[in-house]
Every structure is written in structure tokens, then in C-alpha cells.
């Protein structure tokens, strides 16, 4: 995880875009909470910066 986050950062992708959480099958509430929180964070960060780099065809970002 750490290695990948560092790599993403070098590529110019915020490390917050990658997350690992251990959630058991019995922790439904925790799962929903984590996903909602992560989705909100990603919305705040906006589309992947690599998608909008200059010289690259822009693709519609499907949510």
C-alpha cells in the first residue's frame, strides 16, 4: 500500500485516492460508512488528474 501510494504520488496522483481498509463481513455498517466517506473524499478531489493532462484526449468521467 505504502509503495503504491508513493508511486501514485510521483505520477502526480494524490495518495488519498488509494485506500485499504480491512472490514469483516459482519461489519456492514462500517463498510457503508467507509465507502460513503471515501466516495465523498473522491468527489472532493475531483476527476483523476491524469485524465485531464494536456495533450491527452479528455474522456467523460463516469461516476
Amino acid at each position: 500500500m505504502k509503495v503504491t501510494q508513493r508511486l501514485l504520488e510521483t505520477l502526480g496522483i494524490e495518495r488519498e485516492r488509494l485506500r485499504l481498509a480491512w472490514i469483516s463481513a459482519s461489519e456492514g455498517a462500517k463498510f457503508a460508512e467507509t465507502v460513503t466517506e471515501f466516495t465523498n473524499q473522491l468527489k472532493e478531489l475531483g476527476p483523476n488528474p491524469l485524465r485531464t493532462s494536456p495533450g491527452v484526449q479528455e474522456k467523460p468521467c463516469s461516476a
Binding site: 509503495v3 503504491t4 510521483t10 502526480g12 493532462s53
Partner: protein, 318 residues
């Protein structure tokens, strides 16, 4: 004392002949002279009388560890520092049997980057090159010049910490002093640039990628039976080289797969026909693995690979 390349060549031929004659090995993998000045090419010797084809010089740049996997016969291989480190990792990953391998180590003074030379010659044709006392004297049509050897060596050789083979059965020539420590200043410099600049640099480099996969083929550690880039069900990454994001994604995943295994030999970078800077990413990974895990690939057979060993961090786990 500076041992001459010719002496090493001679010792290499003798050792290969002896090993083949005594049936200690069936195959010797080394280099022979190429048809152009400063060029050497990997060569495979099976008969004792062919041993004279072997040669050693400043163009023996290929990482020969790439040829060792999945060979049933006993073989000998010529190994520089970087080749030997790749061999160590391959043994650790059960890809090569140590008992089937005779390693003929050769301390390496660095290899000449023909691209650097060609830039200095402004594209003029090189016809002859002679290396003497740290100077490379070149002759060609309308040229006669001399350059310091260090100016022509590959970048990967200029930061090399292990010019001497780490694992060998026979050593030809004298040990070479290692260069001053590698500070990874290039990686730090790249990371200090703003994210947008880093992105556009990498995208610009990878926009030249033609997806020939020479980087993958030249790498001794890139040996998956089926590469994720070749999969079509599911298709993890677009196969079109026109998709620059996918080219970058391919390199990012390649680098990630090499975490803790890459010895920074620079074979991928040299194999690239488009001259794409691949070492910025590979070296970043090498440095991160050193920082996070205190691990340098290919140094010892006993040290566990970082991703197979328990991880200790300040927080206690990762």
C-alpha cells in the same frame, strides 16, 4: 593495476573451453563482438572450439540473467555486478537452480552508452574506437576525437554501487572500487517538481511508447507467464500505444511488480527503441524500497524479499 579487457577476454575463453571440455556445463552464455565498433552481442556457446567467440569490452551491456530461466541443462554465465544481483533474486524466487549454474564473475568498470557518444559525434558515423587509460579515442568519417570514459558511461553505471559480482564461482580480473554512494538526487529532484509538471513530463515521455515491450523482455525479473498487459479477459490495460495514459499505467504497474526485485541494471532503459526515460520510475521504486524496508535487491541469498518478510514500521504494521 589496470587489467586489460583483452586479458579478461582470454581468461574467459579459457574458462569456457575448460568447462565445456570437462562437461561441467553444456552451455556458456556470454558476449561476442558485434559487427559495429563498441558493440557486443549476447552469445551462446555449446562447443569447446567455439569458446574463442567470447569477448569482453565496454559494450557488454545486456543483463544476461534474462536468459537463465527454464533451461534444463547445466550452464555457465558471464556476470557483471548487476547480472549477478539479478541472478541472486532469480535464485531466491526459485526461477534458477544454483546447482545448475556456474557463474563466471567479471568486475565491471561500466559500459559505454552509444547514444551519449552519438550525441557527442553529432550523428556522424563511428568507424573505430579504442579505449586506453580512461580515454575513448574514436575515428570515423570526418571525425577524430577523444573523450573521457566517464563522460560516455551509462547513467546506471555512474551510480553503480556493486560493480563487482556479489555471487560467483570464478572471478576474472581484479575487483573494481565502488563509486561513491548513490544519493538518488535525481529521484528527489523529480519529486520536488510540482505534480502537474511531473505528470506532463511522464506523459510526454510515454507518448513515444510503441508498446513493443522491449523493456519487459530485456528485464530478467519480468518473467510472468502471462503479463497483465497481454491479458484480454479481462483486458486490464488498453493495447493501443496511442493511449498515453495506458502506456503510463503499464509502466506504473511494471515498476510496482518490480518492487524489491529491480537491481537498477538499466536494461529496460537501454532496450527502449524510443529512448524513453524509464529509470526515473524504476529508480524511484528502488529508493522507496530502501527507505521503507531497508532492502536492496540482489545483495544476499539469505535476506528475505521485503514483500515476503514481516514488516516493521513506526506504527507497528502497514
Amino acid at each position: 593495476m589496470l587489467i586489460k579487457m583483452q586479458d579478461i577476454t582470454k581468461a574467459m575463453q579459457e574458462k569456457a573451453r575448460e568447462l565445456l571440455q570437462n562437461k561441467e556445463v553444456e552451455l556458456v552464455i556470454g558476449f561476442s563482438k558485434g559487427s559495429l565498433p563498441l558493440r557486443y552481442t549476447p552469445c551462446f556457446i555449446r562447443q569447446p572450439e567455439e569458446a574463442e567467440k567470447l569477448a569482453w569490452g565496454y559494450g557488454c551491456e545486456n543483463n544476461l540473467a534474462v536468459y537463465l530461466r527454464k533451461r534444463p541443462e547445466k550452464m555457465a554465465v558471464i556476470a557483471k555486478g548487476c547480472d549477478s544481483r539479478s541472478i541472486v533474486e532469480l535464485i531466491k524466487e526459485n526461477q534458477v537452480k544454483r546447482e545448475n549454474l556456474v557463474i563466471i564473475g567479471v568486475p565491471c568498470r561500466g559500459m559505454i552508452d552509444r547514444q551519449k557518444l552519438s550525441r557527442l559525434l553529432a550523428g556522424k558515423e563511428l568507424r573505430e574506437a579504442e579505449i586506453k587509460d580512461g580515454l575513448v579515442a574514436v575515428q570515423g568519417k570526418d571525425i577524430s576525437a577523444s573523450f573521457p570514459l566517464d563522460q560516455l558511461l551509462y547513467d546506471s553505471c555512474l551510480t553503480c554501487q556493486h560493480p563487482n559480482p556479489v555471487l560467483y564461482d570464478y572471478l576474472l580480473g581484479e575487483q573494481v572500487p565502488a563509486r561513491g554512494s548513490d544519493t538518488f538526487a535525481d529521484v528527489a529532484g523529480f519529486e520536488s517538481r510540482p505534480p502537474a509538471e511531473r505528470r506532463s513530463y511522464l506523459m510526454k515521455e510515454l507518448s513515444r511508447c510503441i508498446r513493443c515491450y522491449a523493456c519487459r523482455q530485456a528485464c530478467p525479473m519480468c518473467f510472468c507467464e502471462e503479463c497483465f498487459a497481454d491479458c484480454s479477459m479481462p483486458q486490464w490495460v488498453s493495447k493501443s500505444s496511442l493511449d498515453v495514459q495506458a502506456n503510463l499505467f503499464f509502466q506504473a504497474v511494471r515498476v510496482l511488480h518490480l518492487a524489491g526485485r529491480c537491481v537498477d541494471c538499466g536494461a529496460c532503459d537501454r532496450a527502449c527503441p524510443m529512448g524513453i526515460d524509464l529509470r526515473t520510475l524504476t529508480r524511484k521504486m528502488v529508493r522507496d524500497i530502501q527507505e521503507l524496508f531497508g532492502y536492496t535487491a540482489g545483495i544476499s541469498l539469505d535476506e528475505k524479499p521485503p514483500l515476503a518478510a514481516p514488516i516493521k514500521t513506526a506504527a507497528g504494521h502497514v
